[in-house]
Symmetry: C2
Subunit: 210 residues, 2 copies
Amino acid sequence: MEPVIITHAAFAAYERIYRANLINSISGYKPAMLIGTQNPHGQTNLAIFSSLVHLGANPALLGFIQRPLGTSGHTYFNIKDTGYYTINHVHENFLTQAHYTSANFNQDVSEFTACRLTPQYLHHFPAPFVQESHLKIAMQLVDEVPIPYNNTRLMIGKIAFLVLPPSCLEPNGNVNLQQVEDVCISGLENYHRVTRIASLPYAKPDELPW
Amino acid sequence: MEPVIITHAAFAAYERIYRANLINSISGYKPAMLIGTQNPHGQTNLAIFSSLVHLGANPALLGFIQRPLGTSGHTYFNIKDTGYYTINHVHENFLTQAHYTSANFNQDVSEFTACRLTPQYLHHFPAPFVQESHLKIAMQLVDEVPIPYNNTRLMIGKIAFLVLPPSCLEPNGNVNLQQVEDVCISGLENYHRVTRIASLPYAKPDELPW
């Protein structure tokens, strides 16, 4: 069957949910992460994000996209108020609980409670981790870059520390995500199991394999 | 076995490749995409990126992270000079060729030729697509957001059009990435097969499944 071409003029004519599914899924597979925060009074918040992006290894920086602040935005305000947050990988055995953190709960409801996940405090870090997650990242906000084009922002954090099982740390520094059954996301609602099929060497122009 | 804590002080002491592997893999699964460009003289370039991020569905915007410009940066300069680029999903059957586009070829070498992939021009778009890819995105640069903290930048493009097989478009607008054997990446060198295990409904606070 011949491929179809869908132009941006067609996007505008699509029903909103159809368009959201199409555009959110065309960007490919995304990591599934829970961001844990608390406000200055200790009220906890937990939200699933799939927009995490690597920014640099030295210093170790991760970014995520904060959508325009509307009825929600508790994660954003908690990070701005405290300067700290946690990023917790989502595994197969709690992906449904993780997904439901995206419901628009009232501000006085903690998604930890509503979604049956366990807040955990480690190493005196002032934001809650997800106890059920095996790969946890303690983050300190270092910058917030506005994206004026669509009123979103790139939140930039420095990794303060990592918490992980030593068994998933490979000799060359790679973290084996399959061992802890990390899932990935496509679109807004699809969760996937992942199986490593290749590890390829650092590419050099004079060492091509063909 | 008890989890270990790795602090940012430890990162600095690691050997460079070990640190790069650790920090690049802790951000979870990432999409595998080839960005196709050409310079104003028609010299083509192709480069693998795993930092693609969804920015918004209306208008349909995707971003990617451009590293500090050093010996390379052909993709960046071609996009700046022409305003256009293509994003092409990577599938299992050409993942090795896609990986080797990351080698530091001389500017007068096209990665299409060196890595045995086929440039394709569609719909009069002024940048080359990858013929071997089933999911292709025509992109127009709309903004470039500097990230001063580590001298990277977020390149922001608007989707001009999509090219895809109609069979992978699901009734609700989702693109079935598994049907075309899209791969995902972890770290700098690990490629994975992906299997959908769940599609969960839009989450509402009064419709929790427990």
